[in-house]
Symmetry: D2
Subunit: 396 residues, 4 copies
Amino acid sequence: MSFQNPVFIPGPTNMPEDVRKACDMPTIDHRSPLFGTILQPCLENVRKVMKSDSARIFIFPSTGTGGWETALSNTLSPGDTVLAARNGMFSHRWIDMCQRHGLGMHVVETPWGEGIPAARYEEILTADKEHKIKAVLATHNETATGVRSDIGAIRRAMDAAGHPAMLFVDGVSSIGSMDFRFDDWGVDVAVTGSQKGFMLPAGLAIVGFSERAVAASRTARLPRTFFDIADMGRGYAANAYPYTPAVGLMNGLKYSSGLLLEEGLEAVFARHHRIAEGVRRAVQAWGLQLCAADPSLYSDTVSAIRTPEGFDATSIVAHAAERYGVAFGTGLGEVAGKVFRIGHLGSLTDVMMLSGLATAEMCMADLGLEIRLGSGVAAAQEYYRSARAGALKAAA
Amino acid sequence: MSFQNPVFIPGPTNMPEDVRKACDMPTIDHRSPLFGTILQPCLENVRKVMKSDSARIFIFPSTGTGGWETALSNTLSPGDTVLAARNGMFSHRWIDMCQRHGLGMHVVETPWGEGIPAARYEEILTADKEHKIKAVLATHNETATGVRSDIGAIRRAMDAAGHPAMLFVDGVSSIGSMDFRFDDWGVDVAVTGSQKGFMLPAGLAIVGFSERAVAASRTARLPRTFFDIADMGRGYAANAYPYTPAVGLMNGLKYSSGLLLEEGLEAVFARHHRIAEGVRRAVQAWGLQLCAADPSLYSDTVSAIRTPEGFDATSIVAHAAERYGVAFGTGLGEVAGKVFRIGHLGSLTDVMMLSGLATAEMCMADLGLEIRLGSGVAAAQEYYRSARAGALKAAA
Amino acid sequence: MSFQNPVFIPGPTNMPEDVRKACDMPTIDHRSPLFGTILQPCLENVRKVMKSDSARIFIFPSTGTGGWETALSNTLSPGDTVLAARNGMFSHRWIDMCQRHGLGMHVVETPWGEGIPAARYEEILTADKEHKIKAVLATHNETATGVRSDIGAIRRAMDAAGHPAMLFVDGVSSIGSMDFRFDDWGVDVAVTGSQKGFMLPAGLAIVGFSERAVAASRTARLPRTFFDIADMGRGYAANAYPYTPAVGLMNGLKYSSGLLLEEGLEAVFARHHRIAEGVRRAVQAWGLQLCAADPSLYSDTVSAIRTPEGFDATSIVAHAAERYGVAFGTGLGEVAGKVFRIGHLGSLTDVMMLSGLATAEMCMADLGLEIRLGSGVAAAQEYYRSARAGALKAAA
Amino acid sequence: MSFQNPVFIPGPTNMPEDVRKACDMPTIDHRSPLFGTILQPCLENVRKVMKSDSARIFIFPSTGTGGWETALSNTLSPGDTVLAARNGMFSHRWIDMCQRHGLGMHVVETPWGEGIPAARYEEILTADKEHKIKAVLATHNETATGVRSDIGAIRRAMDAAGHPAMLFVDGVSSIGSMDFRFDDWGVDVAVTGSQKGFMLPAGLAIVGFSERAVAASRTARLPRTFFDIADMGRGYAANAYPYTPAVGLMNGLKYSSGLLLEEGLEAVFARHHRIAEGVRRAVQAWGLQLCAADPSLYSDTVSAIRTPEGFDATSIVAHAAERYGVAFGTGLGEVAGKVFRIGHLGSLTDVMMLSGLATAEMCMADLGLEIRLGSGVAAAQEYYRSARAGALKAAA
């Protein structure tokens, strides 16, 4: 019997019952007015989740990777230069995509586990007197290392340098789970997908464009058709879509984004923080270290946990799947074999998380690591108990 | 967001994904041959799950309580005497039903936490020279106390007494989860429902009748119409049903009984035993006692756990629901306030069970019991690890 | 590929998408407050659908047949006399149930196709000076013949006779689809099920009791346990249920009864009338007769259609299922082989109905009846067009 | 109450019950072996549905439009020339995409309603002595006009010209519904989506590449990342995917492609032909013309029906939606207002189709066209009856 245990991968997440039902729709005519009752709330809710008053939202039947391509191909031209930091597998892949699109790259190599160095960005932008750099990339939450970078600091660095480049932020594993401020941070393109904070199956690239980014699209010369925002957005006001939309997923997005707004974004973020902090307490109790180099960098959606030297961290993931039917995430790229990852975003409870921690303990013990069974669980229990009790007091 | 955590009540159980889908059927014409493709496998699979070659199976749109009424009203006449032991709330209710149907009762009052005293049954039956006792009731698994009685011993007592009474067994919380031997034990009527070992929503009374019990129905004079087995079974061979069947639930039963048989009944029982034993290890680690008086009585589907004198056990259940969104069972009747119950039957994994144990620990600590967080979890983890490893070795 | 075509049986009906989803629930603890959020709206909505301010509603995991037994066994005692008319298979079965419960019967044999003769009831009741008749039965809509009787006339007959008998109405195939007035008609017990006007799977008996019927239950001596309304209703105020409720079905009932009330009962009745009238126009165009003897008796939920002498009407039903995958109803009892039935209740549209009529035409032609293809469809189309256009004009 | 009537648009289609359930999956770890049990059958089944022994299949979270881009961007380089015929909106859009990717176009303007002129292709290819033309585009089934072109004839034209260009076929509204012969026709890239013959929600681009097309991708210089087949296919053998796959849709594809193969492709094609022919008989009975200029061009998945001069065909579609809750397709581009379209592909029965035809009749009559109600229905009924009877005879 399968599908019984929750998943603890950093997305796709566990899905709320009613979100699944919203996705599972009979066929409708997407050219009928009914489609507008799905499209328009999606656009409005997503904009609110991104904390923007004015971002143009576009929703593609694709994934976050398609969202990256949307950001680049709509705003840049062959030969343009892009500034980016490489501090994990996902920032690496976005850089790779730039290169394959013929863009010039200014890459700041950054230790995996560190955040994006805003000061270094400021130096580089200040030195770019000719403004060859057209776009600055920032991976808000590096899913590979569990590191959350400070996007506000990057905006301040850009402003301090007085540089006109656009700011593109990969918010795939942050938007809808951790604070994301499109307007406050002066984001020009924000990219996410359906399968993380929105708690849906994979299948949608969700992007927000600032007016400036939309304006840039009018002259950008990278080729694009499927991901062209002009085609995509042209008919939105009339509820038209340039090709067949993924109606069920969008109905799910309408529903799940509504859930987030109803709960309140700050409450959603606090919930993710609480569950994540319990995981971190467990890691500490196990005597292990996070990949993230500093508490200021800790991600509330995924924790990458370093295992002792000489131990293959990936074996934990394989063993958990095979022996206990539980899914964790492996280390990727530079940290492959060195970390395993626990996803703690989306539709999750303290109670579900405790079963993940208990399973991790069993796996580590089975594989010979010196872990006291129940130790991490106890640390998380203690934290969850006090956080719950504290929340009640605060509400009283 | 609700429905996220598994339930830990002693039924209805958590349901496998595909069983839910099997229940969620479009409307069919239950008078068409399609219905036969559902009815016949249900009858055959249920018979196999009861370990019988010849039992007549009847499936009513009702519950286990309706199954009790089916047993009595089809086989007995006003004034008949019934022998039963009262050792928990569910045996108590069946006795009450007998009385309300005008049957004479010979009740063996038994401490709650003890099993049915087969020796006492033998004495009584031996003394009943005139064979006024027409039926012997036995609650295989007392859901209220977590006590499994020895039905084989009761059959041996009846045989030793040379008494011709029929044997009626309430297998509501045992059939499909713990070993049940209709033929070997000479059971005349077995009663269960859909929402326990069969992992379905409530809504079906499922009963098995021996040839002898069917014969008794021809002369039994208690009034019955809805629960009349003659009406119910008359058209089965032609796939007919005396009124509108609960087709979706029966399609679910076809599927879930198929799952049990595919896994193998002994493997199903071993799985329930493993998960239950982990719970018992946790209880021991907490320094608490089970309601069941002796290890030979321990139920593999539900554990009733005594809390210290002066502590209201029901507060754990209320607190778990309110604070953590987790459902446990309260104590009922004589043991109300004295025990709380953890259900561990149906669609459950070691991993899910650990989250239930972790929650119980948090609740007990929140409510002031001296429980070391993680202690029960650790004991269960240790057991689950070794049981899993042992199973692998055994298979090798 | 199955399940594609709608069914045209007189229940279970086609189900609305969202009603199916409401039924398909994860397991909850039915002893938690969550259950109250399902139970209470069910009780209140059902009462409104029955047009009563004060009826006590009880919901059993059973079927309409169980509802009949609930009506009888809670209010009557052995030897009581019951007055009933037999004018179809379902009134026949209720009469049979009375007899099997040891009740004395005063049966008014009525031609199948006629309604209940209120004048005859009045004569009989007037003659019953000693008030031996305790209950008057009335099948509001005879599903076997497509005949709707006039319950208001029966109440007037009872009043004219000055007779104190209780009035029990079988509203299984009328409540929620055709006008039913519990209070206005002075109904004492109303019986229905989940699978007709409520558009749910079978599995619930839904009954309403007047205060007088509840009072009668305190002294009634027919044996009852599963169907005892005292047990059933005792805990309702505290959201308690005497055994495990069929939670998913009840959640569906909450939802579907809410749909009916939201649409407005008169609009629901008008919709059923419109669809039914289209069917009747088709029957007329085919040159066939309804079983119902007079237009005042025409049912808006099912039409029983007489086929020519010497033709086996049942062959249409078998052929439709086998050749075209469409379900109609056969004739039952006295009209077996003489009629076939088209159900037109529940979740149905004009458009769906037209496919049913078109299929009936193909079947009749295939089997050699002289039917002009498209003739009945055209008559129904004409009616639906004008009814739709008229509704728009009326709304303007 | 919505979602009750089937849709009659040329995709997305009505979905089989079990296909919807296959799509509605809990989250799994797409990096676990479980994903392989979904991916591999998808690849193998799709290949079989395309009638190829060797095509490489790639499945993108996208739509047919993304499939077009995949075909072009993986095989061509800036400045390459492409030959295409424009005979409808969808061929027009693919041509437009080529132009936006900087490809040189040789467009054969073709009356909408005509098929692709193979002879003209041969002339052009013969004249292209320098082989500047690298790819020949062919829209197998023009969804806008209901015209099926002869791909075999195009292959023969290419061979007759001795031209080495690759052959790219848009099979979006043909594959899985009408005969498609990847190998026999020497197709190099075939493009389809999930929401037509595969009866799934939109959200997958499904493409097949010949070895030659794969070889071309190694040197093709159009930029591509999301749609790069090298990235996409690299890990397939190890069940790896370059980004997060749309697992649920793929599970649906595994299931629905399995259904097609189980039914047998020729039976699937015959079923589509039968339902389509019924529609054509109705159109004839109405005295109307198809947009398709010749019976040899008639599509078995969609019929575009010309309405009389001066009548706005789109009003039928709007009226059907508003008055009867039924979805038809409007005319697009050159034939906007001149035709309305009836889709008849995917999960559909004769019976469902008859309700669509009956609705079209009501709409046309409501809007003042001289249509005899029931006339088209009768013509279709007659055809369906004889086709069904004939099929039975043939099977006997």
